[in-house]
C-alpha cells in the first residue's frame, strides 16, 4: 500500500514538473563561444533575450533566436569597425541580457530576430531605463507584417506610447560617418539560393526608429533586411559585395550615431 502511495505521489510530482517546464519560455542562451577579456572602449553587445517560441514547437532551448548569425557576424563586423574607424573596438563580442544591470556597462546593443523576443515586466523596465539613460538599441533580421507585429508587442512593453517613425534620408544617422542616401534592401544568405532580396512579405526595407524626448534615436529598427547575414557572409564569394558593403556602412553609421548622440 505504501509502495502504491509513493508511486502515485511520484507520478503527480513528475506531471507537475513537466507541466511547469512546458509553460516556461525558452531561457537557453544557446551557443556560447569563449568571450574576450580584452579591454577596449567599445564592446559589440548582442542582446540575449527570452524567446516567445518556447511553447510553439521550436524546441525548448534548442533554438535561441537571439544568437542568429552569432558570433561570426559580430566578429566580422568588429574587424571592419577597427579597420575603418578610430573606435577602439574589442575584437570579440559581448553577450548581454536584461536579467542583470550588466547591460548598463554596454551603451550600444544589437538584437536580431526580434519578432520572437519576449520580456517580463522587469526586463521591459530595465530596457526602457537603459534606452532613456543613454543606451542605444539596433534591431535587425525580422521580416514582413507578422514579424513587425510580434516585434511591436515587445516594444510596446518597453515604450507603450513612443511612436515609431520612418527615417528620412536627411536624418543624421545616415550621415554621421557615411552619406547613405542610396540605401537598398540587404538580403540574408538565402539570396544566394533564391535570388530574392526579401523574406516573407517584407518586400521593402524599412528604416525606422524610436526617439527619446530630445529627438535622439534610441532604437534603430532595420526591418525587412538582414544585415547580420551580410556581415556573416561577407567573406563568401557568392554573396554580393554591394549588400555586404551596405550592411557594414549601416552598422558603422549606427554605432557612430550611438556614440555621439
Amino acid at each position: 500500500m505504501k509502495l502504491l502511495q509513493a508511486a502515485i505521489f511520484s507520478v503527480i510530482a513528475a506531471v507537475f514538473c513537466v507541466s511547469v517546464s512546458a509553460y516556461q519560455r525558452t531561457a537557453d542562451w544557446g551557443y556560447q563561444p569563449e568571450q574576450s577579456n580584452v579591454k577596449a572602449e567599445f564592446a559589440w553587445s548582442r542582446l540575449a533575450y527570452n524567446s516567445n517560441l518556447g511553447y510553439s514547437g521550436y524546441g525548448y532551448g534548442r533554438w535561441a533566436t537571439w544568437s542568429r548569425d552569432y558570433p561570426k557576424a559580430d566578429r566580422q563586423f568588429l574587424i571592419a569597425l577597427n579597420r575603418l574607424t578610430r573606435i577602439q573596438g574589442r575584437p570579440t563580442e559581448q553577450v548581454v541580457n536584461l536579467d542583470s544591470d550588466d547591460i548598463f556597462n554596454y551603451p550600444w546593443v544589437y538584437a536580431v530576430q526580434v519578432q520572437t523576443w519576449s520580456f517580463t515586466d522587469e526586463e521591459a523596465k530595465r530596457l526602457r531605463e537603459y534606452l532613456l539613460k543613454g543606451g542605444f538599441l539596433m534591431v535587425d533580421d525580422f521580416h514582413g507584417t507578422a514579424d513587425w507585429e510580434n516585434f511591436m508587442n515587445g516594444m510596446r512593453q518597453v515604450f507603450p506610447n513612443r511612436p515609431v517613425e520612418d527615417l528620412q534620408n536627411s536624418d543624421e544617422i545616415f550621415h554621421v560617418l557615411y552619406d547613405m542616401d542610396d540605401r537598398f534592401q540587404v538580403p540574408g544568405e538565402q539570396y544566394i539560393r533564391t535570388g530574392r532580396t526579401y523574406e516573407k512579405d517584407g518586400y521593402v526595407a524599412k528604416w525606422r526608429a524610436i526617439r527619446d524626448d530630445h529627438g535622439r534615436i534610441v532604437v534603430a529598427i532595420c526591418h525587412n533586411m538582414h544585415l547580420g547575414d551580410a556581415w556573416e557572409w561577407a567573406d563568401d564569394p557568392e554573396y554580393p559585395e554591394q549588400f555586404a558593403s551596405m550592411a557594414f556602412r549601416v552598422g558603422l553609421n549606427y554605432i557612430m550615431y550611438g556614440m555621439t548622440h
Binding site: P107, E129, M259
Partner: protein
C-alpha cells in the same frame, strides 16, 4: 589730582614745549650733572673699605643713585625749567561743535540709565555746562553732521533722522568752509559710525596743517549685548542662468554664543537656499558658505538674511543684499575629440540639457574624417581646428579629449596657450588613450597649461575601475557640489559608481587645486585638478569613464549631468568678452559717485587703445544717460568715466566699444545705490575711530567723567588766534615732594640697614 601735584593741567605738558630759562648754557648743566654723579660715585667708592660691611654691597649703589638723582634735580632747578604752551586768546577764537544727527544716533543705549537716545544724550551733555563753559571764553558755532555739515542756531530740537554719517566728508567740508576763520578747536559728538569707512589721510592732513584739534565725545554702547550682524557677503556679481552660485557670508554676534539661527538666501520673496548655522563665540567673525541657484536671466537683488534671534537689539543689520546679473547668453565650448568614445557622447548629452552652455565639437571618426556637432553654420570648423586667433577666440572654453599633442601644429599649440593666457578662456583636458602623458602633452609646448606634472613615459591610461572622492578643496567648490549640504555632498561622491577607467596625471603643480581624487587599486590619484593660468584657467579630468555615473545610477539621477554642467560652466562662464566693464564698488552707500572702468580689446584680444567707448546708463524711474569713457593714461586699452547716480536704486550700464564702424564688443555691469542702509550696520560706538581722529589731530577722546574740564583744557591749542605762555616748573609741588622724598628715602634706607 594731576593739577594738584603738577600745578598745570595735563594738556600743558602734552602740548607744551620744555625750555630752560637759565642764562647758562645747557652743556654746562650736563657737564655738571656728569661731574657731580661721577664725583659722588668716586667718593662712595673710596670710602667703601672703611664703611660698614653691609654698605660694601649693592646698597652702596642705591645710595649713590639716590644722591645722584637729588643733585641732578637741584642742578636742573637751577637752570629754571619751564614749559611754553600755545593758548587760545579769550573771546577771539571760535569753537565748532559738530553733532552727529544720523539715524544711528537715535538708538536708545546712552545716558546714565543706558536707555537715552544717543542724540538726546549728546544734547544733554552740551546743555549740562559744556556749551555754556565754552561760550564764556569763546565764540561757538554748532553744526549738524550727517552726509556733510550744516550750521544750526541751537542744539535744541536736533533730530537723529539723517540717512548717513560721513564724518570724513563733514570735517573736510568744515575745514574748507572755515579756512579764513579763527577756529580754535572742534568738538565732535558722535557714535563714530562712519558709513564711508573712516577718515582719509587728506582730511587728517587738512586739519593738521591748521593745527586744528578735534576733540571727540563718544555716545552709544561700545559692545551690543544681544545682536547678530552681517559683516560681509562675497558673491559673484555675474552668473550664467541656472548656475549654482556660492556665497560666503561673514557675520558676528554677541549674546547668542552656541545658539542656532538660519541663513536664508532670497530673491524677492522666493527662498533660494537656507542653512542652519550654530553661532560662534561673542565677537568672533564667523564665515558660512551657502550655495544657491542663480535662476533665470535678469538682474537679481539677492538678499542674505540671518533670521533674527529672540530679544535682538537691532534686527536691521541681520540682512544685506547684493545685485547679481544673471546672463542668458549661451557660452560656446569647442570640444576636440580624437576618437569616438562614450565619454564624448555623455558629456554632449549633459550639455544638451544646459541652456547656458553649447558644445561645438569636432570628432575624429576615422583617420581622415572629422564629424562636427553643434556648429552654427557649415563653414564652422570645416577646415579642422582653427589656425587663426580670431577664429579660436570666439569660443569661451576648449576641451581637449583623447587627442595627441602632435595632432596640433606648433601654431595651434601656441594658439591654445594664448587662448587661456591672453583671451582668458578655460581649457579642460580629459583622460584617454591619447591624452595627457600618453598623448605626448608632457613634452609639448603646452605642458605648462596642464595643472599637474605629467608622468614621464606612456601607458598611464588604464581601463580599470576607479572610484572618486572629494578633497577638502572639492567640498567647497561649486564644480563638485552635487548636494547643497556639504557633508552629504562628500558622502554622495563616495557613493558614485566606479568610473570605467583612469589615467595617472602626476603630481599637482604649485598653485593648482585638486578638487577630487580617485582610488585606483591601492593608489590615490588626482582626478580633477584646476589652476589659474594667465587671464584664464585650466583643468584636467583624469578619466574618460564618468559615463557610468549616468548609465549605472537610477533613471533620472542628475549626478552625471549636474557635475558636467557645472564643470563646463567653470570652463566657460568666466571667459571675458572683448569689452570688460567693471566698477570698484557695486553697492554705493549713500553716495552716488561711481567710477566705471572698461578694458577694451579687439577680436584677437589685443588691447584697443584707439577704440571709442561709450557707457549707456539706465537708472531707476526710467532715467538714462550716455557717458563717454576716456582712455586711462599709461594703461593702454583701459577706459574710465566718473558719473553720479543721483537716485537710490538699481542701475544697469552697457558699455559699447567701437573702432571706426566696427563694434568691438559690449559688456553690461550693474550696480545699486542704497541710501540709509549703512546706518543700520556697525551701530555700536566706534570708539577706535573717534580716538584715532583725536590723537591724529592733537585733540582728545573725552570720557563722560572728564567733560567738566573740556571748556578749560580746550584752550590749549595752536589753531586760531593763540599766544604762547611760559609756565615755570620749579615751584610745582611735585618738585618739592621729590626733593624731600629722595632725601628721606636715603635716610630711611640707611636706618633700615642700621648704618646710621
Amino acid at each position: 589730582m594731576f593739577e594738584f601735584f603738577f600745578k598745570y593741567p595735563w594738556p600743558v605738558f602734552t602740548k607744551g614745549k620744555l625750555v630752560l630759562l637759565g642764562s647758562w648754557p645747557v652743556w654746562v648743566l650736563l657737564l655738571l650733572i656728569v661731574v657731580s654723579v661721577a664725583g659722588l660715585g668716586w667718593l662712595i667708592w673710596r670710602s667703601l673699605p672703611e664703611a660698614a660691611p653691609k654698605m660694601q654691597t649693592w646698597r652702596a649703589g642705591v645710595v649713590w643713585a639716590l644722591q645722584s638723582l637729588l643733585v641732578t634735580l637741584v642742578l636742573v632747578l637751577l637752570w629754571q625749567p619751564a614749559i611754553t604752551v600755545a593758548q587760545l586768546k579769550s573771546q577771539q577764537n571760535m569753537i565748532a561743535v559738530l553733532v552727529d544727527d544720523s539715524r544711528s544716533m537715535a538708538i536708545a543705549d546712552s545716558g546714565r540709565d543706558g536707555k537715552t537716545a544717543r542724540e538726546t544724550a549728546a544734547v544733554q551733555t552740551l546743555n549740562a555746562g559744556i556749551l555754556s563753559g565754552l561760550q564764556k571764553r569763546f565764540q561757538t558755532r554748532v553744526y549738524r553732521l550727517d552726509g556733510g555739515i550744516t550750521r544750526v542756531g541751537s542744539v535744541d530740537g536736533m533730530q537723529a533722522t539723517a540717512a548717513a554719517t560721513h564724518i570724513n566728508d563733514g570735517l573736510k567740508q568744515f575745514a574748507a568752509e572755515t579756512a579764513d576763520l579763527p577756529v580754535g578747536a572742534v568738538v565732535l559728538l558722535s557714535d563714530g559710525s562712519d558709513n564711508t569707512g573712516g577718515i582719509d589721510v587728506e582730511t587728517i592732513g587738512a586739519l593738521r596743517n591748521r593745527r586744528l584739534p578735534v576733540h571727540t565725545i563718544g555716545f552709544g554702547k561700545e559692545r551690543a549685548l544681544r545682536d547678530v550682524e552681517v559683516d560681509e557677503v562675497s558673491v559673484a556679481s555675474r552668473a550664467l542662468a541656472d548656475s549654482r552660485m556660492k556665497a560666503t557670508v561673514s557675520f558676528e554676534q554677541r549674546g547668542y554664543a552656541g545658539g542656532k539661527t538660519t541663513l536664508v538666501v532670497k530673491d524677492g520673496d522666493k527662498a533660494l537656499a537656507s542653512k542652519e548655522v550654530t553661532l560662534d563665540a561673542d565677537g568672533v567673525v564667523q564665515t558660512e558658505t551657502v550655495f544657491f541657484n542663480a535662476g533665470t536671466a535678469g538682474v537679481k537683488r539677492v538678499q542674505f538674511l540671518l533670521q533674527p534671534m529672540a530679544s535682538e537689539e537691532n534686527i536691521a543689520n541681520n540682512a544685506t543684499t547684493r545685485l547679481v546679473s544673471v546672463s542668458g547668453d549661451k557660452r560656446r565650448i569647442l570640444y576636440v575629440e580624437g576618437e569616438p568614445r562614450w565619454e564624448y557622447k555623455f558629456i554632449r548629452r549633459a550639455a544638451d540639457d544646459d541652456h547656458s552652455v553649447q558644445i561645438v565639437s569636432m570628432l575624429r571618426t576615422t583617420e581622415n574624417k572629422i564629424y562636427r556637432q553643434g556648429i552654427s553654420d557649415p563653414s564652422e570648423l570645416a577646415d579642422g581646428f582653427p589656425v587663426k586667433a580670431e577664429d579660436l577666440f570666439k569660443y569661451d572654453g576648449i576641451i581637449i579629449g583623447s587627442v595627441e599633442a602632435g595632432y596640433f601644429t606648433p601654431r595651434q599649440q601656441e594658439l591654445l596657450r594664448e587662448f587661456v593666457d591672453k583671451r582668458g578662456g578655460g581649457l579642460l583636458f580629459l583622460g584617454g588613450r591619447f591624452s595627457l602623458a600618453d598623448g605626448g602633452w608632457g613634452a609639448s609646448s603646452d605642458s605648462e597649461l596642464i595643472p599637474t606634472f605629467l608622468p614621464n613615459g606612456k601607458n598611464t591610461f588604464h581601463r580599470d575601475p576607479a572610484t572618486a572622492q572629494l578633497t577638502p578643496a572639492g567640498t567647497e567648490s561649486t564644480v563638485t557640489r552635487l548636494v547643497d549640504d556639504s557633508a552629504k555632498n562628500v558622502e554622495r561622491w563616495k557613493k558614485l559608481p566606479y568610473m570605467m577607467d583612469y589615467q595617472e596625471a602626476g603630481n599637482p603643480k604649485p598653485g593648482a587645486t585638486v578638487l577630487a581624487e580617485m582610488n585606483a587599486g591601492r593608489a590615490r590619484l588626482p582626478l580633477l585638478v584646476t589652476q589659474n593660468y594667465g587671464r584664464g584657467r585650466t583643468a584636467l579630468m583624469a578619466t574618460s569613464g564618468t559615463w557610468r555615473w549616468q548609465m549605472s545610477q537610477a533613471l533620472g539621477d542628475p549626478t552625471h549631468d549636474m557635475f558636467w554642467q557645472q564643470l563646463l560652466r567653470w570652463v566657460a562662464a568666466d571667459s571675458p568678452g572683448p569689452v570688460q566693464a567693471s566698477m570698484p564698488v557695486l553697492r554705493l552707500m549713500d553716495d552716488g559717485h561711481a567710477r566705471l572702468t572698461a578694458m577694451v580689446r579687439d577680436k584677437e584680444y589685443t588691447v584697443a587703445p584707439d577704440a571709442k567707448v561709450v557707457a549707456h546708463v539706465n537708472g531707476p524711474e526710467g532715467g538714462s544717460a550716455m557717458v563717454d569713457m576716456a582712455p586711462v593714461p599709461n594703461d593702454p586699452g583701459s577706459f574710465q568715466a566718473e558719473w553720479t547716480a543721483e537716485k537710490p536704486g538699481s542701475y544697469l550700464v552697457e558699455v559699447t566699444a567701437t573702432r571706426g564702424s566696427n563694434e568691438l564688443g559690449r559688456d553690461v555691469v550693474t550696480f545699486e545705490r542704497t541710501d540709509g542702509v549703512a546706518e543700520n550696520f556697525r551701530t555700536e560706538q566706534n570708539r577706535e575711530l573717534l580716538e584715532k581722529l583725536s590723537s591724529q589731530t592733537g585733540g582728545k577722546y573725552w570720557k563722560a567723567e572728564e567733560l567738566a574740564r573740556l571748556p578749560k583744557e580746550i584752550s590749549y591749542s595752536e589753531a586760531g588766534i593763540s599766544v604762547r605762555d611760559t609756565k615755570e616748573l620749579w615751584d610745582m609741588p611735585i618738585v618739592f615732594l621729590l626733593l624731600l622724598g629722595l632725601m628721606a628715602g636715603e635716610w630711611m634706607l640707611r636706618r633700615k640697614w642700621g648704618v646710621i
